[in-house]
């Protein structure tokens, strides 16, 4: 189970976890999960455990590791990162909250299909709530005369983010006018984080964060209000200096 340099793995998988030993000295690498649709790409550093879902059920991964390590996908070791095929058992039909749907029928069906694939991986604490919320958002948008449809790629990014960060509180989830999923963690007017998931794997974020320990006569100056665009895997580390993790994790 050694990784020797860059390589390609491919196979059929609906979702799973990959992990590498954090104790591996000098281990630094990347695993890039790419659905056949180029928009669906997720870079994740191969260090610790990460969870992913596949939008289409077919997955390709590019791995790069300058030193030895171990990769497990879908509960199976990837035996070598030369060229390897693998399959992962995924949720049975009975595990899925929705019946199989023709993804081309409509966007609502595609969203439900994506949720079905992620079902087994999502936290039981909020997966019912999440499924109901996505259903509501999709049905509302389809009722509108704008013809706007929710972005399935954006939903995949949101799910991947939630799966990769299981300690986060469950957020409020809304849809932007451009059809992207937006997660909002709101404690108060000065503790607010909103993250819009773009199909590219980037996120637009807005954060209002009260500065700890700052006492100024002008109360507004005690709150940082920042916005920006970053990659999905960098977002939380970017927000650490603002203390955001103290109120979005639990």
């Amino acid at each position: 189970m050694q990784i020797y340099g860059p390589g390609l793995v491919s196979g059929s998988v609906l979702g799973g976890q990959f992990s590498t030993p954090t104790s591996a000295v000098g281990f630094a690498g990347c695993l890039r999960l790419i659905d056949p649709v180029p928009l669906q790409a997720l870079w994740a550093p191969v260090h610790g455990a990460h969870t992913f879902i596949s939008r289409t059920g077919t997955l390709s991964a590019l791995a790069s590791a300058p030193t030895a390590g171990r990769v497990v996908i879908g509960g199976e070791d990837i035996t070598s990162i030369g060229i390897t095929s693998y399959r992962s058992d995924h949720a049975s039909e009975s595990d899925r909250p929705f019946e199989r749907l023709d993804e081309k029928r409509d966007e609502g069906a595609r969203l439900r299909a994506i949720l079905s694939r992620a079902w087994r991986l999502l936290s039981p604490k909020y997966r019912d709530q999440l499924a109901a919320r996505v259903q509501l958002l999709a049905s509302e948008l389809q009722d509108e005369e704008s013809g706007q449809v929710p972005s399935t790629e954006s939903l995949v990014q949101l799910l991947a983010f939630l799966l990769s960060n299981p300690s986060l509180h469950y957020p409020d989830i809304v849809l932007t006018p451009d059809g992207y999923f937006r997660a909002e963690w709101h404690r108060s007017r000065d503790r607010h984080l909103a993250v819009t998931f773009l199909p590219s794997g980037e996120v637009r974020y807005i954060v209002f964060a009260k500065r700890p320990g700052v006492r100024l006569s002008w109360p507004l100056a005690q709150v940082d209000r920042l916005s920006g665009i970053t990659s999905i895997d960098r977002l939380l580390s970017l927000l650490v200096p603002l203390g955001v993790h103290r109120w979005i994790e639990g």
């Binding site: 509302e140 409020d172 809304v174 006018p177 909002e184 819009t196 807005i206 209000r225 916005s227």
Partner: protein, 151 residues
């Protein structure tokens, strides 16, 4: 061309879908976001709202009844949809105080043939997402888009 400036003392409502009112009762900023492209392909220029004092100078019940009639004439409404009420001065001041560039958004009458009270919140770009957050902070009332039937 922008119409009459709506005075700071006056009020406007913004129509939104129910999912933008979160379970806690908080209004999500997406209720105040501009659409990136309109049917003509151009980005939305201003945020559509309706000017309540244009319909009646003071009585809120009359204002809400009349504005609901306007929406009903133009949109396919459902009871779950909502109207968000704002005070113009409070909203514009909140944005000006909290935006780094001291942005002065403004509300102007933009009458339509089927919507005499139709107005627009202008100068929300750039940073329209941040401005939407600051507008959402100032909602002072949430009303059903269709009045509940008398019990």
């Amino acid at each position: 061309m922008r119409g009459t400036k709506v005075p700071d003392t006056d009020h406007v409502v913004r129509h939104t879908k129910r999912s933008n009112i979160l379970p806690t009762g908080r209004v999500s900023a997406v209720a105040f976001m501009l659409r990136p492209s309109m049917p003509d392909g151009k980005p939305e220029e201003y945020l559509s709202v309706n000017w309540l004092e244009h319909l009646h100078p003071a009585d809120t019940d009359t204002q809400m009844r009349m504005v609901r009639d306007e929406f009903a004439a133009n949109l396919r409404l459902s009871r779950s949809q909502k109207l968000l009420r704002l005070n113009v001065g409070t909203t514009t001041r909140n944005v000006a105080e909290k935006m780094e560039d001291g942005r002065h958004i403004s509300v102007h009458h933009a009458e339509l043939p089927t919507s005499p009270s139709h107005s627009g919140v202008y100068d929300c770009r750039p940073d329209e997402e941040m401005i939407a957050e600051l507008i959402a902070e100032t909602v002072i009332g949430i009303y059903d888009a269709i009045a509940a039937p008398p019990s």
